[in-house]
């Protein structure tokens, strides 16, 4: 396989080391918010972008991402690697992903436990997979390929699902634990996805959180969901990302942080995008929970009085 050199860094973008995120809250970056973001002094917190939106050759998207990355930590979140699919990864897409990570040096890189491409058709959705020994082996092989391409571990996001598979032989948490131990990847724990799947499949979200390998969690996602009904008239939650985080999800999140300490937390909001202050307020709510459980800060070094 030919390895193209990553594109040269834009000379106007002096990249510092990717800043550690610590216990900070971030938001999805939406270009419509850029003027409002740049009008304020750089804020505490990070921004997350979908990798595929920045895979064009040039133009305004890269100017916008450079402007964000200059003063804020960045998280690059891939949505179409199709890690959970039965077919080999798309080598062109993997190369684009590698180049994007090399160019913007994000603090976090993540992808999904899902698939989105079959044969040559791209379905633009995060589709589910059965949890079996065979799918586990293939998912691990795909994660190995991504991690060796970008030369760093990724965080793998737990899915929200609407159906289960007759053939599954493992629970999702056992599947995730096995992936973490085999590949060395971390987890992006989407607490809204846990809640959505728990309601949809009738399991306890607290039990899921007790079973998931929390030591591997490097980022948390929070998002809004909507409510429909299933074939039997029971509530079916849809991971719609188009509104505020639900109270139940806030409660799960607060319990998790209280028990395990702060983890970088992202507010995802992709549809019916609100004005920047609304999104910022949602992130501030997460930040307040993180700060409440932050370790005591290291004592400041005091300079001798002159």
């Amino acid at each position: 396989m030919r390895h193209d050199a990553p594109p040269a860094l834009c000379p106007t973008l002096p990249l510092r080391f990717p800043p550690p995120l610590g216990g900070t809250a971030g938001t999805s970056f939406k270009p419509a918010h850029l003027p409002a973001i740049l009008a304020e002094p750089p804020r505490r917190g990070f921004f997350e972008v979908h990798a595929e939106n920045y895979m064009g050759a040039g133009g305004p998207p890269h100017r916008q991402l450079e402007a964000i990355r200059k003063d804020h930590p960045l998280s690059i979140h891939g949505v179409c690697m199709s890690i959970g699919g039965p077919q080999p990864l798309d080598r062109d897409h993997l190369a684009r992903f590698r180049n994007l990570v090399a160019r913007y040096q994000p603090s976090l890189v993540s992808e999904h436990l899902a698939w989105s491409t079959h044969d040559t058709t791209y379905f633009n959705d995060l589709l589910p997979l059965p949890y079996t020994a065979a799918t586990l082996a293939r998912v691990c092989d795909h994660i190995d390929q991504v991690q060796s391409a970008i030369r760093r571990p990724i965080l793998l996001e737990n899915p929200s699902t609407y159906v289960a598979f007759r053939d599954s032989t493992m629970s999702e948490t056992d599947f995730l634990r096995a992936i973490v131990s085999r590949t060395g990847c971390g987890l992006l724990l989407d607490v809204n996805n846990v809640f959505v799947s728990a309601v949809n499949h009738g399991f306890s979200p607290q039990r899921y959180l007790a079973d998931v390998p929390l030591a591997a969690v490097g980022e948390i996602h929070l998002a809004g969901h909507s409510v429909q009904t299933d074939d039997d008239g029971a509530p079916l939650l849809i991971d719609s990302h188009d509104g505020p985080v639900a109270d139940d999800v806030w409660a799960l999140y607060a319990g998790l942080i209280a028990q395990h300490g702060p983890v970088p937390t992202l507010i995802e909001w992709d549809g019916n995008i609100p004005d920047w202050p609304v999104l910022q307020a949602e992130a501030a709510a997460a930040q307040a929970i993180l700060d409440r459980h932050a370790k005591a800060p290291a004592p400041e070094i005091r300079h001798a009085a002159a």
Binding site: A57, G85, H118
Partner: protein
């Protein structure tokens, strides 16, 4: 006999049913306690179809404004089912949509619509095109007049020409914002030059002969041949104004004398 790997075809089963509403949900999927999951599977069908329709709305906002949202959604749904994307980069999707519109039975009363769509597709290609510094107008002044006819231009990666037998540029421009649209005579032929001189994509109308001239220069033909073609189309073609206009629009990045 070796058993096939259980559920190895989960993706094939999903793929066959996702864009085909008349097909049953895959046999492998279940709801809680093994119940039927047809409505549950429909969430995925809906996500796929609606998100792809919305990606076409994002690429073709003027077409949607002209047709109205309900017409557009029905037309886009038919296109999504017939021609789903074959790349995860959705800003590359919809290249076949203008041809689909041209053949779409219910759009025949709007013969200008495919050209407006081609303009919108070209706008997005220009938006994502590679970055390059446009040619400095001063570079041309340094060329000895006797060598001008042999001069060739390198097109900027964003530069596009779209030709139309209808008033596609006027219709496009009037419908890319929410401002009220005055009555437009759609039957006037218009050619568009699309460029991205700095960060903003610019769409302008070319004068008669201008598209013949610009497309030859973009293809790497020498200035003399391009001008000859333009005069052939439009005897009153203004060479100096056209070349200055193209350079000012950022259509080129470089000049040279040899054939590339």
């Amino acid at each position: 006999m070796r058993q096939p790997e259980p559920s190895a075809d989960y993706a094939a089963q999903f793929a066959a049913a996702l864009l085909t509403p008349e097909r049953a949900a895959p046999a492998a999927v279940i709801g809680p306690r093994g119940n039927a999951a047809a409505r549950r599977f429909n969430v995925y069908r809906n996500n796929v179809t609606v998100s792809l329709i919305e990606s076409l709305i994002a690429i073709y906002p003027a077409v949607q404004r002209i047709t109205g949202p309900d017409f557009f959604r029905a037309m886009a749904r038919a296109h999504v089912r017939e021609t789903p994307p074959n790349s995860p980069l959705l800003f590359d999707y919809g290249r076949d949509f203008p041809a689909f519109i041209a053949a779409y039975e219910h759009a025949q009363a709007m013969p200008f619509l495919p050209d407006v769509a081609r303009l919108e597709r070209a706008w997005l290609d220009a938006y994502h095109a590679a970055d390059a510094a446009p040619l400095d107008a001063a570079a041309l002044a340094a060329v000895p007049p006797e060598r001008l006819a042999e001069l060739r231009f390198a097109a900027h990666p964003a530069t596009r020409i779209i030709r139309s037998n209808y008033a596609a540029v006027t219709i496009f421009s009037a419908n890319r914002s929410d401002a009220p649209v005055a009555r437009i005579d759609g039957s006037v032929a218009e050619d568009a030059l699309i460029t991205r001189p700095a960060d903003d994509v610019v769409v302008r109308r070319l004068p008669p002969g201008g598209a013949d001239f610009a497309s030859r220069l973009i293809a790497g033909q020498p200035l003399g041949a391009a001008a000859g073609a333009a005069f052939g189309t439009a005897p009153d073609f203004d060479l100096a104004t056209n070349i200055a206009g193209l350079i000012e629009a950022g259509a080129f990045t470089d000049i040279r004398f040899e054939d590339a």
